[in-house]
Each structure stands twice: as structure tokens, then as C-alpha cells.
């Protein structure tokens, strides 16, 4: 009766093991949703947080197992070559899972305090994390695009979930409109790539570009430019960063942390995979553009940061300038640059999540004028010192992971003979440091009549801050293990 041609069809083989991290996250998301639908009284804040943490941990274990497999067997791809199982993707999977666990912990106290729905929030967070993993592991531009959308749409909603703040909803729609705008650019870039090379699969693209000499490259150049623009929006690189301050300011702090860390990391994962892996043979075309972008981003991020008076806006611009550093690493178009970018992203993620842990604890309603932080050094010395360490790490002061990260970026740039960019990045580091110092000063130096607000502390926040600070300092002192991790992650899947 039925069409044998239709039903006799056998799909491509699937490496289920490699898909497990995503599957676990999605399963957890569905479990949370189901429980909240069927037994709402059981879907408490604790339950959802624990579920998310368990999912993150299980995925983490799987990812470590995968890491060993990949080290032995080398990179491979799965599901019709749409999904790359390589060190690069597992590196980002691990990073994203760490970010996920951290954000889950951060949101634990926050959701309760601000009256947001835990199950939906966690379900979205898990889906968003799955999207980020997809984006980092995608070996096909369309898969990457879908991962990006999953990541972004989840974030749009999470931002708007803060019911009491009209700023949250406004920033959500701002981010949404510009996010959709940038997705369209990315997609157009994908279309042109497809047109120029005949496939959306990165391996095919690479093979094609390696073997074919174009008569004219208009299409490919336009494709690269559009892809770059689209991803620059996502990673908040200037001049496509203008959404960042408003959105960061308006969004609930855990979500801001998630955006600043994981969304950015996933964006850079895509950027690296597309440009470093697929367009490797055309690096003379794209590297200068990335370099120019990096310089603009660094300058804008640093200069604008010092003009702000709101801590979240400051951190937004700091995140812009961090994007600049990573772009410097990408610009190098070398293995060293890529591993520097990976290292940077890893350390940056924990720094920024730790920072937003503190920011999130600074009072109800998520308003963050600098004056709120006045005297924190006296009223909450441990928290203040933790925040100070994280801020100094972001400024790139030695003995913190931030310094090692910057050092590697500089090394990669110098190795690539980009002395100018290296110089600019260091000079902007100094300008940016001013902003961090302002926050530190506000915490420690209190003038007459200044009164800060006392933080609303939750033990999960302490866990996050302590973990982030310890990580930052440990990596700052003995970075070898993480450097090796990042270097091992570099050989990106380049064959079918």
C-alpha cells in the first residue's frame, strides 16, 4: 500500500555517543517541563536547579569520555557530516556545560528573589545550552545557524521573563530585533557561501576552496563579509555592539552572564570554525578584516567603558573589548591564535560569570548604579575581594587567568607579525583598566555621605564566586593544564 521507496529509506548513521551531551540537556529540559506541567507543586526551585546541575554534570562526564575517544581516534563527523566530533567541539561543550552549571546556580537565588518561574527558565536555559553546543559542534552552516537560533531565542525569552522590570522586556525586544537582524545577515552569508561553493557543509566548503581557484571571488568575499557581520553581532564586536550595553543593563543578571559568556563563546566557536577551519585557504582575504574589526572593537570597548556610570553597562563594554581581544587571536589565523582564543574564552567565561554573580547579588530589581557598590569592601570584604580579583583578571593583571589569556593573544598576534594590533590591544587594556579600577575604588574608597546598598546573598552565589575566583587565580598561577587543553582542542575537523 505505502510507497516502498518512501518507507524502505535508511537514514545516515548516527554517533549517538557524541550526541549524548545535547540529548541529556534536552531530556532534562523536557523533564523539568513535564514535572512542572504535571505536578506543579513538585517543580520547585530546588528541583529545577538540581535537575539542571545533574544534567550538566552527566553531560560533562560524557564529554570527558568523548575527549578521550577523540584523542585516540582523531576527529570524526556524524549524521551525514553535519556534526563534528573533534577536540574543538568538546572543548566548547565542556565550557558551555560549566557555564550552564554556573548560571543555574546563579539563577537559583535570583529566580526566587525576583519572582520568576524556575521550571520554564531552566528549561530555556537547558535548551539554550543545547543550542550553544550545537553551534560549537556544527559542521554544517545550516546546523550552526539553527544552533545559534536556539541559543538566541532562548535568551530572548529568558531576558523578558523578569516580569516586574519593564527594562527587561524592552531590552529583550531590542536584543530580539537586532538578533533577528544579525541572523538574517548570517543566513545571507550562508546562502552566498552555498552559492559560491556548492555546499553548506564546512568540510565540503573547505575541500572546494582548497581545490578550486576562482575566476572572481565576489560571491565568496560577500559571503565572508556577511558571515562576519552576522557573527560580530552575536559576539558584540564593534561596530555591531550597540545593543550590548542596553541589553546587558536590562536583562536579569544571570542571563546577562549567560549572554556575555556562553553566547559569546558559541559565537566565537562558530567564527573560528567557519573562518579558521573552512575558509582557511582564504585567510589573506578575511584576516585583515577581522584585524580591523578587532582594533575597532578594542578601542570602542575601552573608550566607551570609561564613560559609563552603571556597573552593568561598564561590564557590557568590557565584554565588547574582550570580544576585541579574542578577535585579535582569530585574526592571527594560526593554531596558536586559535588556542589562544579558546583559552581566552574559557577563562573569560568564568571571570564574567563570577562577576555577574556578584552583580546579581547586588540588590533587588537589578539596578546597578556605581554608587550601590560604595563601601562593599568594608561591608562584605570577602565578596569585594572576590569581585576585585575578577575585575583585575578582566583588566589582565598578572597572577590571574586574564593575564595569561591576554599574554597568549599577544603572543599569537606577535607571532603573526601583527605588532600594531598587539600594541593597540595592550594600550586599550590600560584604558579599559581604568573602568575596572573605578569599580574597585567604589568598593574600597568611600567618601563622606556615600552609602551603598547591602547585597542579597545566597549561598549558591558564594559557591559560584568562590569557584570562579579560585579558577581565575589557579589558572593565573599554573595555567599549563588549560593551555594544553586549549592546544589539544585546536586541530579542528577538516576531513569528511
Amino acid at each position: 500500500m505505502g510507497d516502498p521507496q518512501l518507507f524502505g529509506f535508511v537514514g545516515p548513521s548516527v554517533n549517538w555517543w557524541a550526541l549524548m551531551p545535547q540529548i541529556i540537556l534536552l531530556g532534562a529540559a523536557l523533564a523539568v517541563l513535564l514535572v512542572s506541567a504535571l505536578a506543579p507543586q513538585r517543580a520547585s526551585n530546588v528541583f529545577t536547579t538540581v535537575t539542571t546541575l545533574c544534567a550538566a554534570f552527566t553531560s560533562f562526564v560524557v564529554a570527558i569520555g568523548l575527549w578521550n575517544d577523540v584523542k585516540i581516534d582523531g576527529p570524526s563527523s556524524s549524521i551525514a557530516s553535519a556534526f563534528g566530533v573533534d577536540g574543538f567541539s568538546i572543548f566548547f561543550t565542556v565550557l558551555i556545560l560549566i557555564g550552564l552549571a554556573t548560571t543555574a546556580l546563579l539563577s537559583h537565588g535570583y529566580l526566587e528573589r525576583e519572582g520568576m518561574d524556575p521550571p520554564e527558565f531552566h528549561a530555556l536555559l537547558l535548551c539554550s545550552a543545547a543550542g550553544a553546543i550545537v553551534m560549537a559542534s556544527a559542521n554544517d552552516l545550516i546546523v550552526m545557524f539553527l544552533g545559534l537560533e536556539a541559543l538566541s531565542i532562548g535568551i530572548y525569552v529568558m531576558i523578558a521573563m523578569h516580569h516586574r522590570r519593564s527594562e527587561a522586556r524592552e531590552s529583550a525586544i531590542k536584543y530580539f530585533v537586532l538578533g533577528a537582524f544579525s541572523s538574517a545577515f548570517l543566513l545571507y552569508g550562508i546562502a552566498l557561501t552555498y552559492g559560491a561553493t556548492g555546499s553548506t557543509n564546512l568540510v565540503h566548503v573547505r575541500n572546494y576552496l582548497d581545490t578550486v581557484v576562482f575566476r572572481d571571488q565576489h560571491l565568496l568575499m560577500a559571503a565572508m563579509a556577511l558571515l562576519l557581520v552576522g557573527l560580530s553581532f552575536k559576539v558584540a564586536a564593534a561596530p555591531f555592539h550597540f545593543w550590548a550595553p542596553d541589553v546587558y543593563q536590562g536583562a536579569p543578571s544571570p542571563v546577562t552572564g549567560w549572554m556575555a559568556s556562553i553566547a559569546k563563546a558559541a559565537g566565537f566557536a562558530a567564527l573560528l570554525r567557519i573562518f579558521f577551519a573552512a575558509f582557511a585557504s582564504h585567510d589573506v582575504d578575511w584576516a585583515p578584516i577581522v584585524g580591523a574589526l578587532a582594533v575597532i572593537t578594542l578601542v570602542v570597548g575601552a573608550v566607551m567603558a570609561i564613560l559609563q556610570t552603571d556597573v552593568k553597562r561598564m561590564l557590557a563594554f568590557s565584554s565588547v573589548s574582550h570580544a576585541g581581544y579574542i578577535l585579535v587571536a582569530v585574526h592571527s589565523a594560526s593554531a596558536a591564535g586559535t588556542s589562544a582564543a579558546l583559552f581566552y574564552l574559557f577563562t573569560y567565561t568564568l571571570m564574567v560569570l563570577g562577576s555577574f554573580a556578584v552583580v546579581g547579588a547586588m540588590g533587588i530589581d537589578d539596578e546597578h548604579p556605581l554608587s550601590r557598590y560604595a563601601g562593599l569592601g568594608r561591608s562584605r570584604p570577602v565578596m569585594a575581594i572576590g569581585f576585585t580579583v575578577l575585575l583585575l583578571a578582566q583588566a589582565g593583571i598578572p597572577t590571574t587567568s586574564g593575564f595569561i589569556a591576554k599574554f597568549q593573544v599577544i603572543a599569537a598576534a606577535v607571532d603573526n607579525k601583527s605588532y600594531f594590533i598587539a600594541g593597540v590591544s595592550m594600550v586599550t587594556a590600560v584604558i579599559g583598566a581604568f573602568m575596572y579600577l573605578r569599580i574597585v575604588m567604589a568598593m574600597y574608597v568611600v567618601d563622606e555621605g556615600e552609602e551603598g546598598s547591602s547585597p542579597i546573598w545566597h549561598w549558591t552565589t558564594s559557591v559560584v564566586v568562590i569557584a570562579a575566583v579560585s579558577f581565575t587565580i589557579v589558572v593565573g598561577l599554573v595555567p599549563q593544564f588549560l593551555i594544553e587543553f586549549a592546544q589539544d582542542a585546536v586541530p579542528i575537523l577538516i576531513r569528511g
Binding site: G377, R378, P381, L392, I397, P398, T399, F403, I404, K406, F407, Q408, I410, A411, V414, D415, Y419, A422, G423, M426, V427, A429, V430, A433, F434, L437, R438, V440, M441, Y444, V445, V478, P479, Q480, I483, E484, Q487
Partner: protein
């Protein structure tokens, strides 16, 4: 790594201990209960003293005639990047280490922070550790880490315990220094990368100095990047503006450590990483830098003359003195370099003492304005006496340490930088002018009612100041122990300079203390 073999045979890694002990002290202090604020400083002082004692041990064990690095210790740190934990001491850094080791316990004992003793003590200990690290580092990366990290404690000290304008001063201090070092990092990486060639990348200073693999222009550019960092730290005149603010706003302990130790990071850096790593570029840039040094001498002196604030006056006198040292360094003769190194110590002693004294005066009178003080001499004669000695040392009166250093610098520089030296000599006269004038205004004359009540030195304060006085007098009378340890290293540095550039030291006069040891390049 062949250098691993060169690791000091000494069983006890004393240099590592030097860095670790203060850090451990800081941790101990942090873990002390908040309810016992009175414990903080004594315990901190104990740790700082242990470190000081270790530094004295290093001095005692230091092999006098060995021009190379002693007590070396290499541990693999970040092998992927070719970075090692590599420390060592030679005649140039030895005395700075000792200075650092002694100053910190003294200020910890001497200066009461009035509030938050715990972080205060911890930061001071961290400062000591960082300074040790910077003076001992033989790995460029390690040096940079230490060079930068000392900013944080000092920043916190100025910000947390400073005076009214501390926010501005602390931030300015931090940013100036960081701005300087920004390009240095690029240069460090460039030197390491470009020198590597076919070999492994390394940040080992000795190795890099041997390789000299950079082309002339690259080396000059890198040299300039390094020099920028150091001249800001010294500070040399056009980029000195952070110093008066930082000194004035810093708490007394901060001022003392800043003057005695941290400024030396700049001059030490010029010697160790400027001359040693970039001999050719140093020779190329020497006239300019010497000129800047001389400008510093004159400018610092003139501006100091016009100061209304006693502390600010001392701060500007620092600018002048450091200018001297820069001149000495870039004159490239044995005497001038010896003088430069010696003057680093002298300046640490005399200016450190002056800052302590000014701090004590402020404790008594809550003001530092020269115009509001007068006739202290009659109210506090011993105080005035100690002040006089420190001041005379700073002026460079024969018999005190300042004279030896300045004299050596002037003698040495005269051979190669005649006109510079002539102008710099006027700085000595100006120093006498502004310091004596200030002394006259503050200590002579009729005391007002307030001045009458100024208490004299207490026993504790006297004990604190005693080491400074002893040092000032001892070095003025018998500098040989220092010079004989400095000279081999300096000579070695000059022959390194001659070997790698077309510079030849004018051969004049006999060595001051010991026979010249033209250590060949292969000795290391």
C-alpha cells in the same frame, strides 16, 4: 634545557623562599580573626622580618667575585609557552633585594594604618613579595608578572589608606605604570618569539641576552617599549606626573616603599633588561635617555623648590635623584654604573627616612604644609637631628652615603657625558638649596603654639629610624662591601655592552676597589 643543569647547587632555594615567605605571611594575616586587630601588624612584621633575614643570608652567602647570577633556581612553569620560574641574584640586584627585605618590616612596625590593619598588612607583605620577585626574576615573563603585580598592593594601599585625593592618585599611579608596561609586554613577546628562530621559544633573560638574534631596528623598537615602561616607573621627567600625586596621597608606608623600592624597579629594569638585553639599542638611545635624566635632575630640583607641601617636596626630590641614577646608567662607565646602583640604595635609605619623618610629623600636626610649620627644632630636637641627617644624605654631603653615589656617578659620567654631567652637578647644588630652605622654614624660627606641642621622637620611632641612620652613615664611610659586590656585575654588563655594540669604555683610572675582571661572554 641546559640551564637546568646550571641550577644552583645550594640545597635550599633561598630566593624562592624570599618570595614565598611574605606571601605565606599575607595568607596567615588574612586568616587571622578579625577580632584581634592588634595581632595583624606584629605577625606581618615577623614574616617580613623573616624575609629580611633571608635577604641578609643571601647577602652573606653571596660570592663576592662572581659576576654572574647566583642562587639560581629554575622550575618549569608553563612549558607550552617556554616559560620558567627562573630566579637568580647578581651584584646589581643583591642590594635591592636587601633593601626590600629590610624596608618592609621597618615600615610595618613604624606606621600605624589607623584602620583595617589586616588588609593593610597583607598588602604590604604582597608588595614585598612582588618586589622581591621583580628584582630576582630572570625570566622575562616572570619579571613582567612581578612588575605588574606590585601595582595592585600599592594601588590598594594608596586607595585604602591614603589621604583626601587618594582615588585620583591611586588610579593615576596604576594607569601610568600599566600604560608603560603595556607595550613592554608586546616587546617581551616579540623578543622571545623573534629570538627563537629554529630553537625553542624561551623567555630566559640570560639566554636571550646571549642570543642577540634581533635585527637592529627591531631591537631598538623593543628597547623603546621596555624603556617606556621603566622611565614611567623611575620616573623620568615628561612621564613623572603620577609620582608627586602618588607620594603625596599615599599613606606613609606606601610612600616609603614606593620611594625606596618601587622606583628602583624602573632603574633596575633599565640596567637588567635595557642594557643587558639590548646593548646596541642602549648605546643608540643613551644620549636621549641621559638627557632626560639630566632634565629630571634639574626640573625635579626646581619644582621641589616651589612646593608648599613638605611631602610633595620630598617627592620631587625623588624625581631629581632618580634622574641622577638614569644619567649614571646611560653613561656606561664602571664608576657611573656602580654609582647608579649604589645611589639606588642611597635614595632608598635617605628618601625612605625622609618620608617616614614627614609621616611622623603629619601624625603629630595633621598637616604637611610648610607654611604652617615652624620652629620644630626647639620643640623636638632629636626629631630635627634625625631629619637633618637624612636630609644631608639626600643632598649628598661628604661622609654620608649620598655623596658616594653621586660622586661616583659624576666621575663616571664625566668621561662619556661631559656636558650632561656639568648640568647634573647643578642639581646637587639645587638639592642643597631646596632641602635646606625647607628645613629652615620648618625647623627654625619661632614655634607657634601648635608647634610648641610637637612631641619629640619616641623610643619606638627612634628604633625604627635607627637602621636608616646606620645605613646612611655606614655607606657614607665604608661603601666597599657594596661596591665590591656590585663591581663584577657592572663590569660584566659593560663588557657585554662592548661586545655587542661598537661602544668602547674610555679606559681611565684604576678600578676603585677590586681588580677588573673582564669576564668573557661564555662565563654564564
Amino acid at each position: 634545557m641546559q640551564l637546568l643543569a646550571a641550577q644552583s647547587a645550594a640545597s635550599f632555594p633561598v630566593l624562592n623562599a624570599l618570595i614565598i615567605v611574605p606571601i605565606a605571611g599575607a595568607l596567615v594575616v588574612v586568616l587571622l580573626p578579625n577580632s584581634r586587630p592588634e595581632l595583624m601588624r606584629p605577625i606581618g612584621a615577623i614574616f617580613a622580618s623573616i624575609a629580611g633575614a633571608l635577604s641578609l643570608y643571601v647577602m652573606a652567602q653571596f660570592s663576592v667575585h662572581d659576576p654572574g647570577f647566583q642562587f639560581q633556581s629554575i622550575q618549569s612553569w608553563i612549558p607550552s609557552l617556554g616559560i620558567n620560574w627562573h630566579v637568580g641574584v647578581d651584584g646589581i640586584s643583591l642590594w635591592l633585594v636587601v633593601l626590600t627585605g629590610l624596608i618592609t618590616p621597618i615600615v610595618l612596625v613604624a606606621v600605624d594604618p589607623h584602620h583595617d590593619p589586616k588588609p593593610y598588612t597583607a598588602w604590604l607583605l604582597m608588595l614585598q613579595a612582588g618586589s622581591f620577585g621583580a628584582f630576582l626574576a630572570l625570566d622575562l615573563f616572570l619579571f613582567f608578572v612581578m612588575f605588574e603585580i606590585v601595582l595592585v598592593p600599592m594601588y590598594m594601599l594608596i586607595g585604602g589608606w591614603g589621604y583626601d585625593d587618594r582615588r585620583y592618585a591611586a588610579t593615576k599611579f596604576f594607569l601610568y605604570t600599566m600604560a608603560g608596561s603595556a607595550l613592554m609586554l608586546v616587546a617581551i613577546v616579540s623578543v622571545a618569539t623573534l629570538s627563537s628562530g629554529s630553537q625553542d621559544i624561551t623567555f630566559n633573560v640570560i639566554e636571550l641576552a646571549q642570543r642577540q638574534a634581533l635585527s637592529t631596528n627591531t631591537a631598538r623598537l623593543c628597547f623603546l617599549a621596555f624603556v617606556l615602561a621603566f622611565v614611567i616607573k623611575v620616573p623620568v621627567v615628561p612621564v613623572h606626573t603620577w609620582l608627586p600625586d602618588a607620594h603625596t596621597q599615599a599613606p606613609t608606608a606606601g610612600s616609603v616603599v614606593l620611594a625606596a623600592v618601587m622606583l628602583k624597579l624602573g632603574t633596575y629594569g633599565l640596567l637588567r633588561f635595557g642594557l643587558y638585553l639590548f646593548p646596541e639599542a642602549s648605546v643608540w638611545a643613551a644620549p636621549t635617555l641621559a638627557t632626560l635624566g639630566v632634565i629630571g635632575v634639574v626640573y625635579g630640583a626646581i619644582v621641589a623648590t616651589m612646593q608648599k607641601d613638605l611631602k610633595r617636596l620630598v617627592a620631587y626630590s625623588s624625581v631629581a635623584h632618580m634622574g641622577f641614577i638614569v644619567l649614571g646608567i646611560f653613561a656606561f662607565t664602571t664608576q657611573s654604573l656602580e654609582g647608579g646602583v649604589l645611589q639606588m640604595i642611597n635614595h632608598g635609605l635617605s628618601t625612605g627616612a625622609l618620608f617616614l619623618l614627614v609621616g611622623m610629623l603629619y601624625e603629630r600636626r595633621k598637616t604637611r604644609a610648610i607654611s604652617e610649620l615652624s620652629g620644630i627644632q626647639s620643640a623636638a630636637p632629636i626629631f630635627a637631628g634625625v631629619f637633618t641627617v637624612a636630609m644631608l644624605s639626600s643632598i649628598g654631603v661628604p661622609g654620608l652615603n649620598g655623596f658616594v653615589g653621586e660622586f661616583l656617578i659624576l666621575i663616571g659620567s664625566y668621561e662619556t657625558r661631559r656636558w650632561w654631567t656639568v648640568i647634573a652637578a647643578t642639581g646637587v647644588i639645587l638639592a642643597a638649596l631646596y632641602l635646606l630652605w625647607a628645613y629652615q622654614r620648618v625647623f627654625h624660627g619661632e614655634p607657634t603654639a601648635d608647634d610648641e606641642k610637637t612631641a619629640d621622637l619616641s623610643l619606638k620611632e627612634g628604633l625604627v629610624l635607627a637602621p636608616f641612620l646606620v645605613g646612611i652613615v655606614f655607606l657614607g664611610v665604608y661603601p666597599k662591601p657594596l661596591l665590591e659586590r656590585i663591581e663584577p656585575a657592572v663590569n660584566d654588563l659593560i663588557s657585554h655592552l662592548e661586545y655587542h655594540s661598537d661602544y668602547v669604555q674610555p679606559h681611565l683610572g684604576d678600578p676603585v676597589v677590586v681588580e677588573r675582571d673582564h669576564g668573557s661572554e661564555d662565563d654564564h
